[in-house]
């Protein structure tokens, strides 16, 4: 499955809380309605992004998926800026 997105953030190799912190910075640069795709290797980011979307009013977690890239699991998050 490949979803549409407006910006890609490569957070591979980064650990907690950096995927979240960087995603937050990037989504601030998007317009409402646009989608940020975040690629991370931190397994905790799956639950972290769900928690973020639950708490923050201006973000929506559109989809999450796991891919295998270079033999390692990669966690992909599609986050939409709502307002």
């Amino acid at each position: 499955m490949s979803l549409g997105f407006d910006k890609l953030l490569d957070a591979r190799g980064l650990n907690c809380p950096m995927p979240l912190v960087n995603a937050r910075k990037e989504i601030g640069k998007l317009d409402p309605g646009q989608v940020l795709k975040v690629v991370a290797t931190d397994r905790g980011s799956v639950a972290d992004f769900q928690g973020w979307a639950k708490v923050a009013k201006n973000v929506e977690l559109v989809a999450q998926e796991t891919e295998v890239m270079d033999g390692a699991n990669v966690y992909v998050h599609y986050v939409k800026r709502t307002t």
Binding site: N15, P17, M18, V21, W52, V55, A56, N58
Partner: protein
């Protein structure tokens, strides 16, 4: 003749008007709104241990990234996290002893377990670097960048004789009421 009813009938009771009901409800709503916490997280950093300080800054930066306002209140050993140097002038003997024996900056913080005179802290730092986890110093500057409010406890700073010039810049100073004013309006308060 009835003798009991006069206290109740002195002022004839009437149903409150819609306007009065509305005013009453508005007032109650205002009172309730004042009690609803902000999107705020407040942390007390009491410990001067590297691992605990890291935990505090990971929570602080994570919360800030999630859109929370964050206040960190540094007190007692936690002030070591914010130190940038040691000055011995104008200090009492005990304060001098404490200044010399406690870490002069975040780089000198021990770990809470298995420190072994600093070897443990060095090990933890190199293990974290190997796993590409941000260092404490990176986390501190990240917290600043994200607008985390950092408050140095005036009382413990004074007792321990730590001068403002020995601490990093950009700090607020305050006391227990500063902490409570924020923590009472927070959804989460932690003592680390």
């Amino acid at each position: 003749m009835e003798t009991r009813a006069d206290t109740n009938t002195a002022e004839p009771s009437r149903a409150p008007s819609l306007e009065e009901k509305l005013r009453d409800l508005e007032q109650r709503l205002t009172e309730i709104e004042e009690r609803v916490p902000d999107n705020r997280v407040t942390l007390v950093v009491f410990s001067g241990d590297l691992d605990r300080a890291l935990a505090a800054f990971i929570i602080a930066t994570g919360a800030a990234a999630m859109g929370q306002q964050v206040s960190m209140f540094f007190t007692f050993w936690g002030l070591s996290v914010l130190r940038k140097g040691t000055e011995l002038s104008d200090k009492s003997t005990f304060q001098k002893m404490m200044a010399v024996m406690s870490p002069g900056s975040s780089a000198g913080l021990p770990v809470s377990k298995m420190n072994y005179f600093g070897v443990g802290a060095k090990m933890l730092r190199s293990m974290m670097k190997a796993k590409n986890v941000n260092s404490l110093e990176d986390m501190i500057s990240l917290a600043r960048e994200l607008g985390v409010r950092m408050i140095a406890c005036e009382m413990s700073r004074d007792v321990m004789g730590i001068k403002e010039s020995e601490l990093v810049g950009g700090l607020e100073c305050g006391g227990v009421a500063t902490f409570l004013a924020d923590s009472l309006k927070s959804r989460t308060s932690l003592f680390i």
